[in-house]
């Protein structure tokens, strides 16, 4: 591991709750955390963001479930998982016993599903907060994705905020596949979201030139990895500019500390590391160290001072890049 500049205070906050590191895992990219235990100290990161859990166990989709793409991949897993009962019985206790914080991602097909999941998580051990995966089809709206509609997004967020443990910050996870992400972000914030996670994957497609059919069993899939990083960064920038007081958990293709730094400078108070974990299972700990070093090199004594720093007024002279 690279030498950490000791003077940088890396404490971060998730919706007002302090965490030891601004680096978290990303939902769907670290399962429920325990597979990464051999590779780094899970208590050294901000939290394990769990794979999205639903009310019932889900088998997930038929294979093939993924395809590699330039600097990324598309996937269509189908939210395979144990359901809330399995999460509460097996996964959360395992994390809590080791002092690992969990940020639980919940998903549902209707607003009431989300509210019930938030209720079930009240009092669960080790839970830092809830990330609401609203990039799911709403069965009560002909399968329109909640996150593509500000009103549907707001309804879910309000229901979860109402049902959740008051100590659990509620973050809405936004999709970039919308015309105006700021309007969805504002609707979620107005509905009581304590923060925003952005971005989810972009909808993509890969066709096999040999079979001349879509590669994935689910036809389309979510594109992730460094390929989407500029899109993610643009979303964080736009939302922070419009809603500077709303905490942002930034994600989308973060692979290095300098990638994470870009999200912090754009306005993210914390970041999630997702697809990079497939390439490097110790990536979250490495990126924490690299980010600390990068902040120190740039003269920041605290992570918090760097959040949104790229939005400052233009320098009078171009060479002011490293000066503060």
């Amino acid at each position: 591991m690279t030498e950490v500049v000791p003077s940088v205070d890396m404490q971060a906050s998730i919706g007002g709750v302090p965490v030891v590191s601004p680096v978290l895992t990303a939902s769907g990219c670290s399962s429920f955390g325990r597979e990464l235990d051999p590779f780094f100290d899970l208590t050294s990161i901000g939290a394990v963001v769990t794979k999205s859990v639903q009310l019932r166990p889900r088998s997930g989709r038929a294979t093939p479930r993924m395809a590699e793409t330039p600097s990324g991949m598309i996937n269509s897993i189908g939210l395979q998982g144990p359901g809330i009962d399995g999460l509460l019985a097996d996964e959360l206790p395992w994390l809590a016993e080791r002092g690992v914080r969990s940020f639980v991602s919940i998903a549902g097909a209707r607003t009431e599903d989300f509210a019930e999941l938030a209720t079930r998580l009240r009092g669960a051990p080790g839970v830092l907060g809830i990330e609401v995966n609203i990039s799911c089809p709403n069965v009560e709206s002909r399968g329109e994705v909640f996150a593509c509609n500000p009103d549907a997004s707001a309804a879910v967020v309000a229901a979860v905020r109402e049902a959740a443990d008051p100590a659990h910050p509620v973050y809405a996870k936004l999709t970039p596949d919308v015309t105006d992400i700021v309007s969805v972000a504002r609707a979620c914030a107005d509905a009581g979201a304590n923060g925003l996670s952005m971005i989810n994957t972009l909808l993509g497609l890969v066709i096999d030139p040999d079979t001349m059919r879509p590669v994935l069993g689910g036809v389309t899939g979510g594109l992730s990895g460094p390929a989407i990083r500029p899109v993610a960064l643009r979303c964080v920038w736009q939302v922070h500019a419009a809603l500077p007081n709303v905490p942002i958990l930034g994600m989308g293709g973060i692979r290095t500390g300098l990638d994470a730094l870009q999200f912090v400078l754009a306005g993210a108070g914390a970041v999630s590391v997702g697809t990079a974990v497939f390439n490097d299972p110790s990536a979250p700990a490495r990126i924490h160290a690299e980010l600390a070093e990068a902040l120190g090199e740039r003269g920041f004594g605290r992570l918090a001072d760097a959040v949104g720093y790229a939005h400052r007024a233009p320098d009078k002279r171009p060479e002011g890049r490293h000066g503060r």
């Binding site: 990303a26 939902s27 769907g28 990219c29 597979e35 990464l36 051999p38 794979k51 019932r56 166990p57 889900r58 088998s59 997930g60 038929a62 294979t63 093939p64 479930r65 993924m66 590699e68 330039p70 600097s71 991949m73 996937n75 269509s76 897993i77 189908g78 939210l79 395979q80 998982g81 359901g83 998903a107 097909a109 990039s135 799911c136 089809p137 069965v139 399968g143 329109e144 994705v145 999709t175 989810n200 994957t201 909808l203 069993g217 689910g218 036809v219 389309t220 899939g221 979510g222 992730s224 460094p226 997702g274 697809t275 990079a276 974990v277 497939f278 390439n279 490097d280 299972p281 110790s282």
Partner: protein, 326 residues
């Protein structure tokens, strides 16, 4: 191996029932899930110390004592490919072919950009590797005669096992097959530990013409345990031959993996669990070694409706609009 003839009804927590075995038919499984490995995986840079062409493949030998000293036959490693700034993010998972002196070897089949990069590594190069991964081949009871069956480069995964079985006093027979002579693998290594030893090729360019299933059908009745690694259709055929004769089999499957460590959920296949219910099992951490009679080969690539949680998939199944969230 279970031979439970008693009629009984198992009541599962969900209220679902498992019907008792029909007399004369085999519904009780021969194999249980393979136990996990004794040692957790490690991640680090391995130094390439050897590279040599082996017919159509490349055998790489790497210095990695942390991995080599604890690896068990049947386990695999996952390589990062293309260097630190590579645009190929997904790990390439390859079975460990042999270990010794702090080194391990793998057989690389260069098919696309990632595996071609791996096959091009030269002595002195470093590569990021995670391992040992996956569940090893369970060893049979003392004195059990064994049969190893390898297809293509899958035969490499059986080399360590063959040596271990011999050292423990087991009889080892082996059948190794491929499409043609150039795609045979590990023939010398397995010939050194196995007798009888049979080679087959589909085109007859080496050994007996035809598939491995012919010799396997002849040899399986003399075996108390069968171990196989190779293409999925071969594994299905070998497992069926063994199961039909009441012989337990262990198959090491090859499924497309993104991470190799159990977090991406892409390498699943339908497997019957210890409770008799089927689930999508991850071939990286719940495999790659499965009991041959537990893998639902005919259903690979589909979503069987009786899988645990399959019922929940139809509720929200609107693939035209669902931006899949990992």
């Amino acid at each position: 191996m279970t031979e439970d003839g008693a009629t009984r009804m198992v009541q599962l927590p969900s209220g679902d029932r498992v019907l008792p075995p029909v007399p004369g038919s085999r519904t009780e499984p021969l194999g249980q899930p393979a136990p996990p490995a004794e040692h957790p995986p490690v991640q680090g840079l391995a130094v390439v110390v050897g590279s040599r062409p082996v017919s159509a493949y490349t055998e790489l030998t790497l210095e990695a004592p942390d991995i080599a000293q604890v690896a068990q036959p049947g386990q695999f490693v996952a390589f990062a490919v293309g260097g630190p700034t590579s645009a190929m993010l997904l790990r390439r998972s390859i079975a460990i072919a042999g270990v010794g002196d702090g080194r391990f070897s793998v057989v690389v089949s260069a098919r696309a950009a990632g595996s071609t990069w791996l096959a091009g590594l030269r002595p002195g190069d470093e590569v990021d590797v995670v391992g040992p991964l996956g569940r090893p081949f369970p060893l049979p009871p003392e004195g059990t005669p064994t049969l190893l069956v390898g297809g293509g480069y899958g035969a490499a995964a059986l080399v360590g096992l063959g040596g271990l079985l011999r050292s423990r006093g087991h009889e080892v027979a082996a059948v190794v097959g491929a499409g043609d002579a150039a795609r045979l693998c590990s023939v010398d290594d397995l010939a050194a530990v196995a007798a009888p030893f049979v080679v087959t090729t589909d085109d007859g360019s080496a050994g007996r013409p035809g598939r491995v299933t012919g010799p396997v059908a002849d040899l399986v009745s003399g075996a108390g345990a069968v171990y196989a690694c190779g293409p999925m259709p071969m594994l299905a055929a070998v497992a069926k031959l063994a199961t039909d004769r009441g012989v337990p089999s262990w198959v090491a499957v090859e499924e497309s993996m993104a991470c190799g460590v159990g977090v991406c959920m892409t390498c699943v296949l339908p497997v019957v669990g210890a409770d008799g219910r089927s689930r999508f099992a991850r071939s990286c951490v719940e495999g790659p070694v499965f009991a041959g009679d537990r893998v639902r080969f005919a259903d690979v690539g589909t979503l069987p409706p009786d899988l645990v949680g399959a019922d929940a998939m139809t509720l929200s199944h609107t693939p035209a609009v669902e931006g899949e969230t990992p």
